[in-house]
Amino acid sequence: MQENIKHNNVQTISGVGLGLRHRHFQEIIESQPNIPWFEVHTENFFSNGSAASHHLHRIREQYPLSAHCVGMSLGSAEPPREEHLAQVKSFIERYQPSLISDHLSWSGIDNVFLPDLLPIPYTQEALDTLINNINQAQDYLSHQILIENPSSYLAFTASEIEEWDFLVTAAKRSGCVILLDINNIYVSAHNHSFDALSYINSIPTDLVQEIHLAGFSSRDIEGQTILIDDHGAPVHEPVWALYRHAIQRFPNIPTLIEWDTDVPDFNVLIAEKNLADTIIADTLKNKKIA
């Protein structure tokens, strides 16, 4: 199944990158800030003629890119839509991203969709379906992909497999690798009462090739606090604490800072990046001393 897959040269991306958002295009093109790489939402650049795609070409001339997809819907009970895969493939040909990722989630069935990353019931049937779909996507794209652990706000009574086991088995059996989102682990651990550290410790060290960090918000529902992964705030302190743990387990893996809601000035993102750089330096220094 995987003969045709070109393995990513992950060496091309390292250090702490930033999610690229429209309101910062001009500033980045003009000032060429010292950022090792940027990540984009692939679906925002499906049109090869839009102003956004023009700006992305300019940015790609200066920086490596990671293509983060939100619409392959690999957890759906149907194969990935060829029309969508064709557009992702066209993006890959145009922009030559170093990494291509999507989520452990689904977005629609029978031609009706939600603009969201929806939770999967963790059943054997869903696992087999997901693995088939990842295989189809990797074969079509001739590329290994990364699958990101989701944040979620409901759990299915039919679930029979823990999320981390589901994710690891899907990766091992499809030959994909893992994008570990530390904020999603924190959010879901709170919402579903599992232990975030055990989650991180359950992921084999050789399967993680990218780490995500972002901020969340909280909402009061029926007197309970539910955490919402809205990427609209600085990274929270307990998420940094988990990150310190994660980078000891997965050293030298590229990290991305995401911010999608109420996107702030670019220097706020730089400050978040600098904080991550400092944490990496301190954590790895302490590790050497220890």
């Binding site: 023009h54 149907e78 689904w106 939600l114 603009p115 049937e125 409901l154 309970q224």
Partner: protein, 261 residues
């Protein structure tokens, strides 16, 4: 609880439940801890409205300004129930929003609102059209007149023709940043109609006022009529229609992509 449901059935129920808050078939299949099944599902219903509203605000900003945030949001909620999302590419969503608005009862006191949203949809389509080099301005120079009239000129993929009986471009312009005109400068009942061409030869969408003959001419070319037929159709609107002047302006601004005999 029925654990024999297949993945497909659960996903169908999830979608139905997200689009219709009265559909509760999903509830027995989801955990009621720490909040009720409805509480969990409502988070996804709120995300749906918020996600679509965010996308529609980008496509229909003037429509939104004209009706206000609350009305806009309410109209999207109604629109969503009749037009579910049929791909994960949000650029595709909203094509029939103008038709929806034309029949939406609470919007009937703004009879031109649907045309404003139609204009914005054309603008959106022009902005995201695939890149294609325009036909060079000198492409037809030196061509013998007899070849000229059988020529077929194909409009650029970003070209969008727009007609309305209302003064839509003036209303639209009055809602652009740093506009010289305000809505109160426009006599909505008498300042129409609007004939316009939108196209994007490079990065930015350009908008041109047309007279009715130039509009008819380009409309005929867009329907793949040869140049001679398009010329005849334009002359029905204006017997003094100047073919050479029209063509040279249109070639200059780059609204054709190919010419074939």
């Amino acid at each position: 609880m029925n654990t024999s449901h297949t993945l497909r059935q659960i996903q169908q129920q999830f979608i139905n439940s997200a689009y219709n808050s009265e559909d509760t078939a999903l509830y027995p299949h989801i955990s009621s801890s720490p909040v009720s099944a409805k509480g969990h599902t409502d988070i996804y219903r709120i995300n749906l409205i918020a996600g679509i509203t965010k996308a529609m605000e980008l496509t229909f900003p003037v429509t939104q300004q004209l009706v206000g945030d609350d009305f806009f949001r309410a109209s999207i909620k109604h629109y969503l129930s009749s037009s579910p999302l049929c791909s994960t590419n949000l650029d595709d969503y909203g094509s029939d929003f103008p038709a929806f608005l034309s029949k939406f009862k609470p919007a009937q006191n703004l009879p031109w609102l649907a045309d404003i949203s139609q204009f914005e949809w054309h603008f959106h389509c022009s902005a995201i059209a695939p890149y294609s080099p325009p036909l060079p301005a000198n492409a037809l120079s030196g061509m013998p007149p007899e070849d000229f009239l059988t020529l077929e000129l194909n409009l650029h993929p970003s070209a969008q023709l727009f007609y309305s009986s209302w003064p839509i471009m003036s209303i639209w312009e009055s809602h652009q940043p740093n506009s010289d005109i305000t809505l109160s400068d426009i006599n909505i009942t008498t300042d129409g109609p609007t004939h316009a061409l939108l196209h994007r030869p490079n990065i930015k969408v350009n908008i041109h006022h047309l007279n009715s003959a130039s509009y008819a001419f380009l409309n005929a070319l867009q329907a793949n009529k040869p140049l001679f037929s398009a010329f005849e159709i334009a002359c029905e609107k204006d017997e003094d229609f100047d073919l050479i002047e029209n063509l040279s302006t249109q070639l200059q601004i780059g609204i054709f992509s190919t010419a074939s005999k």
